[in-house]
Amino acid sequence: MQNIEIKARSKPKKKFEFYLGIPYYAVLITLVVIPIFLMIVSSFQFDNQSGIYPISFTLNHYLDFLRATSFVRAMTSSLWIAAATTVVALIIGYPLAYILTRMKPKSQITFLLLINAPMWINMLLRVRALEQIIRMFFPFLIDSFAGVVLGLVYVYLPFMVLPIFAVLSKIDPNLLESSADLGANKFKTITKVVIPLSLSGVLSGILMVFLPAATTIIIPQYLAPSQNIYMIGTLIEKSVINSGRISYASAVAIILSLVILGIVYYIKKLDKYKGVNSNEKETH
């Protein structure tokens, strides 16, 4: 009897709480979903068309881009730069996260905060600061592949450290002890226990570094101002800001998205150890 009463009373509450979400959905649909569809439609239209009507169709933007060897090269070189950045960030970030987990909780907080802090600072300020230091002490790095990678690592390193740290700190120390008890030496423990368990964090970090690095526009403009390192983001930026060719930019953006989706899909497939960690609950 009582259950029915409670259910009856919670119905208006349910409806009320449902209505609460309407403004959010309005924003979500108009400012997230619709723009994506519009972008796809726009990429097949001629430039300088005001509005969506009349609906024209052309593959010119896609063909122009794919036929231009310099642009295809720009895209793949961006991917290489992003890959290099990810590798370097991993090489620095993984040991860093590991060292952090071995600290006392109080120091952990301090150092975490110190690593975290730059993320709150405006990215342009950080890149400019780095540019100054590079021009002062390492002027040969300006306009070079290494310089751009360095800049990207500088900006996105915390994005690699934090997910790895999160995952490493959840590893039950008992697992490490039992591995030692079963006769594995330190190296084997690391390769067979620690690394697989931290894999999901590593993959998370890889994605959070690779994606922004591949699509950056700021770093090459600050650290390679002579345009010797021409990245795909630069093309989209110039098409939009300098030439106002939004349909063309949409086409390039979509090609870029497809390539990135492919890479992300592959990386997600690698994540076979998701949720293996006993302390980790699989959250959606």
Binding site: Y24, V32, F111, R128, Q132, M136
Partner: protein, 270 residues
Amino acid sequence: MKKRRTNPSQVIFLILVFLFIYAPIISIAVFSFNEANSLTRWEGFTFDRYIELFTDRELFNYTNPRQSIVFMTLWIALISTLVSTVLGTLAAIALTQSKKVIRDITMTVNNIPIVSPEIITAVSLLVLFGALSIAPSYNTMLLAHIAFSTPYVLITVYPKVKSLDPNIADAAYDLGASPLKALFLVILPQIKVAIIAGAAIAFTMSFDDFIISYFVAGSSGDKNISIYLYTNRLSPKPIINALSTIILMIIGGKITYDYFKTNKKTEELE
């Protein structure tokens, strides 16, 4: 208990990494006091740059704040934070009452702006505003900021709302509270911390945003601080160093505040 011996190579590694991270930041701060107009030669210590900064009409227009880059950046951050926090929090609450299907779809769509590279979100918003014939301005910047902040608020607040004990809200209804009252007096206070966290994230994302703001409004002359920094990158003005240092100090202050607060918490736990 194994005694933790400090590994010297680890210490060196840490020092190198932190040097790498902080050297540029410190150099900005130091050079903001530079007498010379250059960013590489040092001439003398002075506060002049800061005076120039606060009297710069482009950045700080006291008689007409709507033309001041700094004020408008703050204004847009404030408004977009308010709107996105309200939207996101209400949505989080609404999601708890939704069917699993709706929840899953919503969360997936919600994550799109979060995982997408900013440049793609920027182009899509640009297409939207073009299609609706809305001219680039601070207004489009504001809409864009709301667009990308709201999802972050949702993912921050939702886990907390989900973890609430539903019996407490039910008890409120049993005691005769209207849904509105239950919302304000029961649910919201419990998730206060998550709401504030979400708002902080939304504010920072808006204040520091560059790519989306630049695409959506930058060419119109309506700039925020990031756009200003970017468009002035070729003709370096030393007041930028002063501006940078002030922002650094504010962030530094916030970080130290956080540090002491969390320190207090861990002490209380111990």
